[in-house]
């Protein structure tokens, strides 16, 4: 009964929404114009990066806060250490991981640098670095994380702290995140570099704190 009413509601919603969007005329406001007009003063040349770290940089600041909250939540839940995997990691996999990791790191740094003028940026770069760490972990070369030391905690929250500090410092120029035009590019690169490191640590942490598989004996 409940099942069928949910299914019917879902179908009705889809049909109604599809019909409604098909009759929709053009939007009254086109944000591509102001984005294009202000690109020159944004400090980067790639529009998505300009929106992400300048025009709507405040969203991004809060989004990093969301990631940190998930991390706090995972740590607060307190995972118990698991019995370790039965078979030790495959030496073939280890060789592959050792070979792939430098490549992934280079690719990550490239993405970070490329974000200023073409697709890429801190999030993709951080995710790639995190993937490298997860790969090392899965091949038994990187232990899972238990309770983080204060150094680890500094690394995890450092990118956010840099972002927050820059945002607040800019209040001296008028408002949160109001970069002076001449330094916008530099400040964005500073924020993105910090974010890349911390995002790599957080995203890998989401995995490694959860995994809690210390790699050795249980």
């Amino acid at each position: 009964m409940k099942r069928w009413s949910v299914i019917l509601a879902a179908i009705a919603l889809s049909v109604a929404l599809i019909l409604a969007i098909l009759e929709l005329g053009p939007a009254g406001i086109d944000l591509r114009l102001p984005v294009a007009e202000n690109m020159a003063s944004s400090g980067v040349t790639h529009p998505v990066t300009a929106v992400l770290l300048n025009f709507r940089g405040y969203d991004t600041l809060l989004e990093v806060a969301v990631l940190l909250i998930a991390l706090f939540g995972i740590l607060a839940v307190g995972m118990e250490p698991l019995p370790s995997l039965v078979k030790p990691a495959d030496p073939m996999l280890q060789r592959l991981a050792r070979f792939a990791c430098p490549l992934v790191i280079v690719a990550g740094v490239y993405l970070l640098w490329a974000g200023a003028f073409r697709p890429g940026g801190a999030f993709q770069a951080g995710a790639l670095l995190a993937a490298a760490i997860v790969l090392l972990h899965l091949s038994g070369l990187w232990p899972g994380w238990g309770t983080p030391s204060w150094r680890q905690r500094l690394l995890l929250s450092g990118g956010f702290a840099v972002f927050l500090a820059v945002s607040v410092a800019m209040m001296g120029f008028g408002a949160l995140l109001e970069y002076p035009q001449a330094y916008a590019g530099l400040l964005i690169l500073l924020i993105e570099s910090g974010l890349t490191l911390s995002l790599a640590a957080i995203l890998a942490g989401l995995f490694l704190f959860l995994s809690r598989d210390t790699g050795g004996n249980p």
């Binding site: 709507r56 809060l62 940190l68 706090f72 939540g73 408002a175 949160l176």
Partner: protein, 479 residues
């Protein structure tokens, strides 16, 4: 940092600073850092309100771009009222929590960082003027609250946290789809830019978008029948967390509904007002009934929250209007203060008797008179007895409803008050009338009892000083 906009920005930044620093430097000083930060925030929020009364609403253009390209923060009397409530209640609860968690420090060490981020998210929500930015603040609040419920890690907490998590994710999903449709229809998510556009023309898809956002936010506010996740989450969490969640967190998503429906979505109110109002009436009756039948103290208080949230939605047919906004703000204050006091008092009772059942209360009145007195004071606010702030909010609601010819609302309000009296007296009768069965009553730090009393006292005293609070909303009504 003299203008309201910059003050609002500081209210978002400060809790992020102490929240993340208490993550890096765990330990005893984490609590004190949080309390110091909250004290500064409280002062700033009052300062903000004072400036607002003189100079009117303020705007902070983040990044200096201005909407619709950038994101604006907008502060008016309504947001200032909620900022003050949030900072003061959290400050008091932080003092309570420091003592409450003193002996379980390692288990609850993430309380401070999660609370910091939670408060930052709430402050950000109260002042954001951008639909997508509001989505991010909703996620901050939702995930931080889920983390707080799960903290401690017992089976019941984890199950309650999961139920809460799926409810909040489903709610923000529906909200975000609404935002996506609105961006598609108008090309902007800035409230300031949207308001004239929506007043001018409403394509059909925008009706659906508003409906999705309303349902999503009602789910997050635990309006009946979407309340199923609230009682386990609010009753299962540690007492300071229950107090934060019941007093403040559910009000955040409600505030957003109200913010949208009195301004930007006001042209859509005609079609939707009856739905929240009738659900609100059902919430009052159902929540009170479940509270009367509850056999655990914190479950009773949690169901009382379900009922009290109903009053907020009851006001919808009277919107938009200054009077209705005043009723809502007074009810948010009355319930916020009273419910924080009740959960704080319940925390004392649970700590003292060692369990959470109603029968365990037998004879506690003689041992913990101040706590039971606080509970009773908070109870008068929930019942709406004079001179409490609860009386003021319900009396204003009746007054406004009669002026508008909406007499069914009056019946519901009166019935709700009677039902509240039944469940409040149920607790008091266990505590006062039954002979003590439990000889072991653990010693309780005085500061726990006193913070509960301060909150309960504030909920009553506010009834005598309601004029100032209501006055804060007048610049909003004029502007």
């Amino acid at each position: 940092m003299g203008d309201p906009g910059s003050l609002a920005a500081w209210l978002i930044v400060l809790p992020l600073v102490w929240g993340s620093s208490s993550f890096v430097f765990f330990g005893k000083q984490a609590a004190w850092t949080a309390i110091a930060g909250l004290a500064v925030q409280t002062a700033l929020s009052f300062h903000l309100a004072a400036i607002l009364m003189e100079s009117g609403p303020g705007v902070h253009r983040v990044g200096g771009w201005g909407a619709p390209l950038g994101i604006d923060l907008a502060v008016d009397g309504l947001s200032a009222a909620l900022l003050i409530l949030t900072q003061t209640v959290t400050l008091t609860l932080a003092i309570y929590a420091r003592t409450y968690f003193l002996h379980d420090e390692s288990k609850y060490r993430h309380f401070w960082s999660l609370t910091g981020f939670l408060i930052a998210g709430m402050n950000a929500l109260f002042v954001s003027a951008d639909l997508f930015n509001l989505y991010v603040t909703l996620e901050i609040i939702g995930l931080a609250a889920v983390g707080l419920v799960a903290m401690g890690g017992g089976v019941n907490q984890i199950a309650a946290a999961l139920r809460y998590l799926f409810a909040t994710l489903l709610g923000s999903g529906a909200y975000l789809l609404g935002v996506a449709l609105i961006y598609g229809a108008y090309g902007t998510v800035s409230l300031e830019t949207l308001t004239p556009l929506i007043a001018n023309h409403v394509p059909r898809v925008v009706w659906f978008a508003a409906g999705l956002m309303l349902v999503g936010l009602m789910l997050k506010t635990a309006l009946f029948p979407f309340h199923y996740w609230l009682p386990p989450a609010h009753s299962g969490a540690a007492a300071p967390v229950s107090a934060l969640l019941s007093a403040l967190v559910v009000k955040a998503s409600f505030y957003l509904i109200m913010r949208l429906w009195i301004e930007t979505f006001a042209p859509l109110n005609v079609g939707y007002a009856w739905l929240p109002a009738s659900l609100g009436a059902a919430a009052i009756l159902w929540g009170s009934w479940k509270a009367i039948r509850a056999d655990r103290i914190k479950m009773l208080i949690a169901y009382s929250t379900v009922a009290q949230l109903g009053y907020l939605f009851l006001v919808f047919p009277l919107l938009p209007g200054l009077k209705a906004a005043q009723v809502i703000v007074m009810q948010i204050y009355a319930h916020g203060l009273a419910k924080a006091a009740m959960f704080a008092a319940a925390g004392v009772l649970v700590k003292a008797t060692g369990h959470d059942t109603m029968s365990g209360l037998a004879g506690t009145a003689g041992r913990l008179p101040l706590t039971l007195f606080s509970f009773g004071l908070a109870g008068t606010t929930l019942m709406g007895l004079p001179p409490s702030s609860g009386f003021l909010s319900k009396w204003q609601l009746i007054d406004a409803a009669l002026a508008d010819g909406q007499w069914p609302l009056v019946v519901i309000v009166l019935a709700g008050g009677l039902l509240a009296a039944v469940y409040v007296f149920r607790i008091l009768s266990f505590a006062f009338l039954l002979p003590p069965t439990n000889e072991k009553i653990a010693p309780i730090p005085r500061s726990l009892e006193w913070t509960a009393f301060v909150l309960a006292g504030a909920s009553v005293v506010l009834g005598l000083r309601g004029v100032e609070l209501i006055g804060l909303l007048i610049p909003w009504g004029a502007g």
